[in-house]
Symmetry: C2
Subunit: 344 residues, 2 copies
């Protein structure tokens, strides 16, 4: 930080709203009729589309720490987790509104950074920031973002459609965000180890928006979500919504080399990071056996990443883990609960 500190409380609400508009480029699409500056933003949806709406909050000290992330990372992350929910319905975003709760003593430079990071992702994902609200808080910085999106009528992919026999797939390696978080929590224990991939997973998660479009257009998917709580917790969400069980194959779960090395340095099991870590924001979906193999090559080529099959949907209710030796155990649900954090 250089130069004079200007506090949010010195600048005032309306000057701050004016200031932040400089970070927001005019949206390139024609769907935005009216952006910031009136009682509501106004959008023109496509004909024959359904609307999809999602909201999520991030609070300092609960979801991130200021010594772990730059303000730009926090802005990116807050928008990314919402856009990821749009991807998880196989839709695309129309626009976002941002509700900020700010302590009056906060440096305006922090808010500038937040909006800079948000705008980077907004541009990458064609998700213009079209409105918001700003209020004082007696607590810490909190960012609540709501994203409106659309999907062709009847083509949203829900959690509730998984059927016995479906293959379970993920769009990338798992456990990276957990490895990044642990590297920040225990820097001495991982000193000297490469961690740039893991830190990027944690600080700048990539919503798999284009990947979800590709999959919806090229294959029949029975169920789809994004991995925010961890594979063990989120797969349980699919199973409960669909009335089915699942088997995960331990040696099929994709784990990045950095994640393995960081886990080993911490005397932890890399598979535990991948199954329970959460916040990877890769997609997890189920599809009938013949659907995915024929499109894997095109997917690799287009996105420079691989679709990986991690298990099978079965009858029943249990989610189990099959070891390479053939033994099978019931997988405990250890996904993240905001009010009762699970152990690592």
């Amino acid at each position: 930080m250089h130069g004079r500190v200007i506090r949010v409380g010195d600048m005032g609400e309306f000057a701050l709203i004016d200031r932040l508009q400089r970070f927001l480029q005019a949206p390139s699409g024609s769907q935005v009729v009216k952006s910031i500056g009136d009682d509501c933003a106004v959008l023109q949806p496509s004909p024959e589309s359904e609307l999809i709406l999602t909201t999520d909050s991030q609070e300092e000290g609960v979801h991130y720490r200021l010594d772990w992330c730059a303000p730009e990372d926090i802005g990116w992350r807050c928008l990314a987790i919402n856009v990821s929910d749009i991807a998880a319905m196989a839709g695309w975003p129309l626009g976002a509104v941002v509700a900020l709760s700010l302590p009056p003593e906060l440096d305006v430079a922090f808010v500038d950074g937040l909006y800079t990071g948000m705008q980077e992702l907004a541009r990458d994902m064609a998700c213009p920031i079209i409105g918001g609200n700003m209020t004082k808080t007696t607590g810490r910085v909190s960012v609540t973002i709501t994203v409106l999106g659309e999907v062709p009528k009847g083509q949203a992919i829900y959690r509730s459609g998984a059927r016995p026999g479906d293959e379970i797939w993920v769009t990338g390696t798992l456990g990276g965000a957990k490895a990044g978080l642990e590297a920040l929590l225990q820097p001495d224990a991982v000193a000297g180890l490469p961690a740039s991939h893991a830190l990027m997973c944690y600080r700048r998660p990539q919503p798999r928006l284009h990947e979800a479009q590709f999959l919806r257009q090229r294959a029949t998917l029975h169920s789809l979500l994004d991995l925010s709580d961890g594979l063990s917790g989120d797969l349980r969400h699919i199973c409960q919504a669909s009335g089915v069980g699942a088997q995960i194959e331990a040696d099929a779960v994709p784990i990045h080399d950095e994640t393995r090395r960081i886990a080993h340095a911490l005397q932890a099991d890399p598979l535990s990071f991948a199954l329970h870590g959460g916040e990877d924001f890769e997609l997890c979906f189920t599809a009938p056996p013949t659907q995915i193999d024929p499109i894997r090559g095109d997917f690799d080529q287009q996105f420079h990443r691989s679709l990986v099959r991690v298990g099978t949907i079965r009858k029943g209710k249990e989610v189990t883990l099959k070891q390479p030796d053939g033994s099978e155990t019931v997988l405990p649900a250890r996904g993240y609960d905001h009010f009762r954090p699970a152990e690592g």
Copy 2:
């Protein structure tokens, strides 16, 4: 509060989400395709409509105090201020998503009350609660609601359309919410005075949703907003967006008898409550001279309330106040700024 206290932290995120669904009735319209329980809510908009989107937050200790409002009032109020923004575009709501930040030690009964009050307004306004998010906070209870609505294509009414010669109208008495707030702040000073109207204005503001529909359908409105910051501040928003000035006639501003008596008991000017108080959530609009008079009778009959003309849009930039003796003064902007609260 009776019975055993169950804390949010004891119940956990997912059990709490399940619990809250009992407070939410199935939406009666056919526009909701998928409600709570997936990555996004899914909605079917009307053909040929534009979408409108607004968000607002309310935090304990900043926007309300627990000794002033029941949890039901807080829930009502949080949704009402958002639905009021939908009314201020002359649209109607499609659905709302609710992001709650809750301290783990909070009694679950408080959350029940919050949702009970929200659901009361949601039913009255046909604005189903279709999704949300719940997270822990290290601070106080905070509620951020986002409402999606729609309006026939090209028929949203903005702040920016006011023209010199327009009449300025409001949909009801002003200053009531301020009187209610002062009655709560200084109970001894107003002891014995009737305050039920004023308290209702503060605790249970009524979005003028149906009134805005009536006005859009029956007259040509040039500009429209809801009075959240106070007439002096909000009329300035219209003037700045439209590049015009305005004159308010002091003796035309409608003030409820209770508001007058409470102001007098506090040695305050009732007109100051009405001009600068804020949070009345009546509509303020401008229209050409011949538009409103012919529909006033029907409006009265339908809504049991009166449209009141409070002034005139003029060339220039200033907002002035004309006294009954013909003198005219520039009206200072004393609307609410979240980071720099104005004096009473």
